[in-house]
Symmetry: C2
Subunit: 390 residues, 2 copies
């Protein structure tokens, strides 16, 4: 585990089912911090608060609740977010500006701040160096499994760790970050150095996944670095090393999010190549990955490649239909815009029965490439979201 | 009924369930024609053919099949579309260039042209002046009801009629036209006069609806005018009269399409006002209307207005969350970005139980306004589309 961090998670009564819903990360010393946030124009109170607070570059704790997004809650929402931070700071004996806040859950309901206040002493007592699982469980909403990834690297022979914890599982088509993600490291680095690395890693991971095409009002990804390992980022080469470990952590979390998407039964990579530019490739991958018709066909394990071509065709970028090849894993299903027949379809259907596979779309126009990870669209997705607030 | 048109529909064996799947419109005399087509870059063979043929400005028949889209079918697909037209022309005793073709159904499978050829004599024999219902049934795919609208107008005291027939019911987020729509009139007008009127009416109707956010490869809307009523469009005032009747026909069809959307149980108008521009208003209405989270909440009859604000916030246009009002029909649910409490929510929930209602989003920033019609997203949508080809 990362040195110098403690994690905790308790049940404060925000979730109707009585499960854990209040979580805390605490660093023994103040840590450099970077953050990326939703670009949705509707932003929850804790997002507004954190955007201000990370400007100082240093924080020591993050308090998080699930079960309520504290969004569209007006001035009261901002006061509640401030008060959450103040209570945590008081319990931890640190300055309140050293605490960040994140919330996730239903939008538009007042935060039950009294329940959070009542649970705060328990939460402080629950902090443990091996408490990451409790933290991960306490930030879950419709997630079915906690998501924690730890990776190790070294700079100048000194090892460092990064632990990442994230939650999904709906309103996921991140635009800067996923719903909530917290990465902590024991490396030493300035917040100025961390910020572009977090941004780059988020762009390559959380911003390349989709579950249902909706962007959350609460998207927050934070990165803390407290320096307690002794490893220090002090050169571009160190940055590259740290970046690659961070990329690995966030990409692994991102895939876990999609795999555990609401009602999802499959994790599918939509890989576009041969586009005129990377941007074109991304545009097509994103449009295909968000097509409800493709996603329902994936759920039905139906190699309905016509829906892939139809979605690609509406992405608004150059495309010559009679040049396009489509593969399901290694199975060539479409060659030059036409189906490869029933034998290929039988092979493709076998691929579709797997829990994880890749759909490659080759436009054969240029060298542009991009991938987006998506999931299928199931009856359970509709059930979960028709009944979400009840 | 419109004077001088005959309609027919028969079962040619293209649909697995044995229902009608081959349809024909025939005008006693050659008619002026206008057409708008999908802007998807992947376009079916009949779309490519019709785009060419309407350039002459005159046609006398339209042959349509359901059960197969004749899309992504290469050179053979184009030959099949040409041959369909030639067979119909031969049976009707007219020039083959006078026949347009439309297809709808599964993408990527060869058109069973032999079945169409075998059914052609039956189809010709089935033509009747009162055959519009048979035509409407024969072009249906996952539609549950046929869609026919007839309206009357008059210019210079001479009455004219417009009959419109359309089909949905999935892959519907038209971009120029809906899946298939055929409007015939007995007014006299040049194709040059008709084209902008059809384009305007389509933009106001078919291009303002969405069922699942996917744009079809086969979208086609045609308008024929054979002049047999004696009414003639010969002035801007006549154009305005005809336009208003045509708008009414296509808007009524558009709403019928959404109401009969795959798995849909509700027809909902998303009306945005107070935007800086009409374009901004449309962008928000379209984003909200396509939000899977809102659509599943509509299915669950849950007044989850947070999802409306969250979708509006990611539409990419100016928005001040703390200014936004949201109404369900007349019930004010959100005032200045915050919920109006449980009494309002109870009222709103009553509105949500209706089969048809309006959600108004007032941004209070300017005078821009736009509406998009959408439906809810149900378990049946997923079932229909998971199993579509089996």
């Amino acid at each position: 585990m990362c040195q110098g961090y403690k994690f905790g998670g308790v049940a404060a009564g925000l979730k109707k089912n009585g499960q854990k819903d209040l979580a805390l990360i605490f660093s023994e010393v103040s840590a450099s911090v970077a953050g990326v946030f939703t670009r949705n124009r509707v932003q929850a109170a804790p997002v507004l608060l954190d955007r201000q607070r990370i400007k100082t570059g240093m924080v020591q704790a993050v308090i998080v609740n699930s079960g309520n997004a504290n969004c569209c809650t007006g001035v009261q929402g901002v006061q509640d977010a401030l008060y959450m931070a103040r209570m945590a700071a008081s319990g931890l004996g640190i300055a309140e500006e050293q605490v960040l806040v994140a919330s996730t859950g239903v939008i538009g309901e007042p935060l039950p701040i009294a329940k959070i206040e009542a649970a705060m002493p328990d939460l402080i007592r629950a902090l443990r160096t091996d408490g990451a699982t409790h933290f991960a469980r306490a930030i879950m909403t419709t997630d079915t499994v906690p998501k924690i990834v730890t990776r190790q690297g070294q700079v100048d022979g000194i090892p460092f760790m990064i632990t990442g914890i994230a939650k999904g599982a709906g309103m996921i088509r991140p635009d800067m970050a996923t719903m909530l993600s917290f990465a902590v490291s024991d490396i030493a680095a300035s917040s100025v150095a961390l910020q572009p690395m977090l941004k780059a890693a988020s762009d390559r991971s959380f911003n390349r996944i989709t579950i249902d095409g909706d962007t959350s009002t609460n998207d927050t990804a934070l990165l803390l670095a407290n320096g307690l390992s002794g490893a220090v980022i002090s050169s571009p080469a160190h940055c590259a090393i740290f970046q690659s470990v961070l990329d690995d952590v966030l990409m692994t979390l991102a895939k876990q999010l999609v795999k555990d998407g609401e009602g999802a039964t499959k994790l599918v990579e939509i890989a576009v190549k041969g586009a005129l530019t990377d941007k074109d490739a991304y545009q097509i991958a994103d449009t295909v990955a968000n097509s409800n018709l493709l996603k329902t066909a994936l759920f039905g394990e139906d190699a309905n490649w016509g829906r892939i071509l139809a979605a690609a065709g509406r992405a608004g970028v150059p495309l010559q239909p009679d040049k396009v090849d489509i593969c399901f894993d290694k199975v060539l299903m479409v060659k030059d815009g036409m189906g490869c027949g029933q034998a290929a379809e039988r092979e493709a259907t076998r691929v579709l029965k797997k829990p994880q596979f890749e759909i490659t779309i080759d436009l054969k126009l240029g060298a542009g490439a991009a991938s987006v990870f998506t999931c299928d669209f199931s009856i359970d997705y509709v059930k979960i979201n028709a009944d979400y607030r009840s």
